[in-house]
């Protein structure tokens, strides 16, 4: 299935992206959750 291939390939992307997006509630030790709402709004406006 096409979506399955995409899902599998996504599993192999750069590890920095994986670590960066770790769920805030499960923040990795030593990583500080960021307040991202303002960032999102800012980039929405930029688009």
């Amino acid at each position: 299935m096409k979506s399955e291939k995409l899902l599998d390939a996504l599993g192999k992307v750069d590890e920095t992206f994986i670590e960066e997006a770790a769920p805030i509630g499960e923040a990795l030790p030593g990583m500080k959750p960021e307040k991202s709402m303002q960032d999102v709004e800012k980039s929405e406006q930029q688009e």
Binding site: E4, K5, A21, A22, G25, E26, K35, V40
Partner: protein, 186 residues
Amino acid sequence: MDDRQIIALYNERSEAALSETAKKYGRYCRTVAYNILRNEEDSEECVNDTWLRAWESIPPQCPERLSAFLGKITRNLALNRYKHKNREKRGGGQTVLVLEELNECIPGADSTEEAANEALLVEVLNGFLAELPVDKRKIFMRRYWYLSSVKEIAEDFGLSESNVKMTLLRLRSKLKSVLEKEGILL
């Protein structure tokens, strides 16, 4: 304990590596598994299998980012378990067996070609992700790598669910354009 110390324990074949890994990354890996399986028991088994895989892989492997290394193993195991369970639901396994048997009759890319195609796809995905603003990339990864629900993403990012859905819709559309531009057909 920092990751280098944990990896050193693996290299020394000390079983403390497993308890330290579980202590530091158990919650993280359980979340990865649970987002996919939505079942506590299955998730726990997946996480235990992750520790076993890590034990078998390190050494010779020496992960640069232990969290992502473990997360990837958990995600793969959970997705495989999910696929297996879904196959069982669809006709006690026979339907899937018949489909797999018939699949052999259909000409397609061989395994080397498929591996090359997947490597190219991963490269394009990495390029796509690198170009995104950090916040958008995180939302995309939360949905399609961590398989978090729209509700969970909305809560964590302080956004409305409709805002998250709209962001994801735009990102999928952008990804589609990138894949088309690169001539990638799935």
